[in-house]
Symmetry: C2
Subunit: 474 residues, 2 copies
Amino acid sequence: MTLQPATPAFLDSLRDRLPPSAFREAEERHLSEPRGRFRGTGLLLAPGSTEEVAAILRACFDARVPVVPHSGGTGLVGGQVMAEGPAPVILSLARMDRVRAVHPSESVLVAEAGVILADVHREAERAGRMFPLSLASEGSARIGGLLATNAGGTAVLRHGNARALCLGVEAVTAQGEVWHGLTRLRKDNAGYDLRDLLIGSEGTLGVITAAALRLVQPPSRVGVALLAVPSPAVALELLALAQGRYGDTVQGFELMGRMGFVFLAETGLGASPLSPVPDWTVLVELGLPEGLEPQAALERIFEEGMERGLVTDGVLAASEAQATALWELRERIPEANRKIGAVSSHDISLPLSEIPAFIPEAEAALARLGPFRVNCFGHLGDGNLHFNVFPPSGVARAEFDPVRGRVKELVHDLVHARGGSVAAEHGVGRLKVGDLERYGDPVKLSMMRAVKQALDPRGILNPGAVLRAQGNRP
Amino acid sequence: MTLQPATPAFLDSLRDRLPPSAFREAEERHLSEPRGRFRGTGLLLAPGSTEEVAAILRACFDARVPVVPHSGGTGLVGGQVMAEGPAPVILSLARMDRVRAVHPSESVLVAEAGVILADVHREAERAGRMFPLSLASEGSARIGGLLATNAGGTAVLRHGNARALCLGVEAVTAQGEVWHGLTRLRKDNAGYDLRDLLIGSEGTLGVITAAALRLVQPPSRVGVALLAVPSPAVALELLALAQGRYGDTVQGFELMGRMGFVFLAETGLGASPLSPVPDWTVLVELGLPEGLEPQAALERIFEEGMERGLVTDGVLAASEAQATALWELRERIPEANRKIGAVSSHDISLPLSEIPAFIPEAEAALARLGPFRVNCFGHLGDGNLHFNVFPPSGVARAEFDPVRGRVKELVHDLVHARGGSVAAEHGVGRLKVGDLERYGDPVKLSMMRAVKQALDPRGILNPGAVLRAQGNRP
């Protein structure tokens, strides 16, 4: 039996089970994604409760209608838009935007899938706590999508990715049953870790409707510095120095190549506080316990770094405003990238010690292919780089459409050869299904297909994301 | 088709695929477990490599012979001994005891499943790093079993449990295929999180043969104090105070009830440094970055705790020897418990804010059932208590055999009613299969059964652990 398209008649058949508020027109943002690589189809449903999600899934399961969960729509790999196959129900979680509970004494917050990340930050702060997940799209990304993609961001070094910040989930299965797994427990070995299986499965194994999130006590003092380093290899030495002295109070360690500052200048989004613009800089953030002064600690790292030749220049934020300004440089790079327009973007991770050799190797290989500009930046402490390839100044990226596939393959082949991942923090979505088949361990892939078949036997959940849709296998 | 017993003839049929060293007699320790609740059967095979594990599993899959993976044998819930059904192959991983690689600059160590935890500690230390997993049985527990059970221990508060300390696994499937997943990446969203699914699945979904483990930089200075507190509720307030000031440098926060010290004295294993023995004490450990003095930080906590009525007495370790001595008190409690002999032991976790009400509630309910002594201790910061029930002094525990089931049910019912877990860090094994059926979410259970069926279609992997064996369902 094949999947059936969602039709107006199918939606009408749900009117006895869903309130009128669940029926809305799909908008442009439900059918497109930020990088414009995929264009989706489908009819929108916007349930307001877990029970309504369950009712929709039961109906879709019975009728074999595909379901594409839609959260903040900020994903960069096309996981939220279904471009091929029968038109799906686009299941928007945006109306489920309630913070159900805050437990300050337990450092736990329970949020529905549609709560925007910035709102979680605000609620946590009101309770004297902090939710550490932090990324550029936090004003529009929603908890459901952040968990479905196991989002990363700038605080992974200290606090882990979205998976590490989730204690429990409530989720609806492909059959429309509700798993009540909203535990607030920090230790629970009662059965298989299906929570972490659903997290990062990009809506292909179940629909997360709410989550118990782990908050932390905010550090007493935070300090930020932008330090120039001679090379990525030296940046890693500096990281070891900082962690050796200050352990996991090193909560941010972001690498930026010179091209990032060139792009910020070119797009009018920012300017390097260091002049001349260094080849490589790192943004270091310390979150220190009481009794330690951020300025003193950063100066200590700076001075010892200078002595050992690890640091060549730098600026220490003297105020919160300066710290924010330094972070804004880093966080505006994706925006600058969008304005310039990439030929191909690569969200990769490598074993830390492979990074220094990978970067020049990949740049040299690309140079043989064309006069590209490479903007390499990212979460160095996590081994996660955004290695994005752009046309030369003044040339339209469309001119490189014919080699885009080669660019991606070249970069990904080199990453794979060094034991890296070609889907580090953005997920697989639809963009990297072929990459997963090319680079993934074949035994893991067959285990994944078995799990998919077991939990979504009719293949209705986000077909074509992560794994090729059934019947479409090559 | 039902499972077939492992027979000498079946083992003989493997002699062309396995070296003579893989054939050994099962010893007593392979057929028993620490608490003496289960007695296993089976024939031993001790492969020396991943390929040998795969060959054994292929043969067992073909012949439908059950396989019980055996690691350090320290598990407390019978996951490592198969007491019912056809005799299994006992698959000892003990000979796979090689540390394959250490990457100090990445803070990664790659160990085979049979490496003993204390040996991982030593190798990490030699590289200037630390492997934070720490528990009483670290001299005999092995990495494979620690991951299979997602072991907890005393460092979870800061570093997470075994799952959080594993970056990648190599594993053999039920069909005898090898998943090469030994990634050293800190971020990898390339497909479903099968690593975390295998971790904690107690050998029922696959056999972990090696793991890439996450090391950390050791803290510059460590300080330990034993503080008397009026109640568990106040202990939680003290934890919030300590974390508010020193964040996640609070790396140990262990609760001990008076009975723990009574048992240490009764068994000659230790004596309280505080007199009179307080009703409740907490062992606090700080791992501080450079620039902070542990003594000063602990004194600060102590003094502010005294002022606010959170602390009534205390001793601060003035040397490493004193710190070790304080930790030994905590770590000898399980040994004292074994010597006294529990009627029923409970490895439970609760939402932190439920703990203060749970303890007196459970004690009062037990008192109505008999003159029990309760030793309540554990990892308070994780919400994980060992709530163990003993006979009165001078009475044999056998006298309470008739009410043991009632005792367990009473404690577990109260835990469940407060949103807790009855399998916090020791796992489900065979001991708690019924509990999982009683308390587990039915939708999660059916998802678990579907996953088990998908990854172990013939049901040969550790049958009867975690989930009731096929055909044995009630």
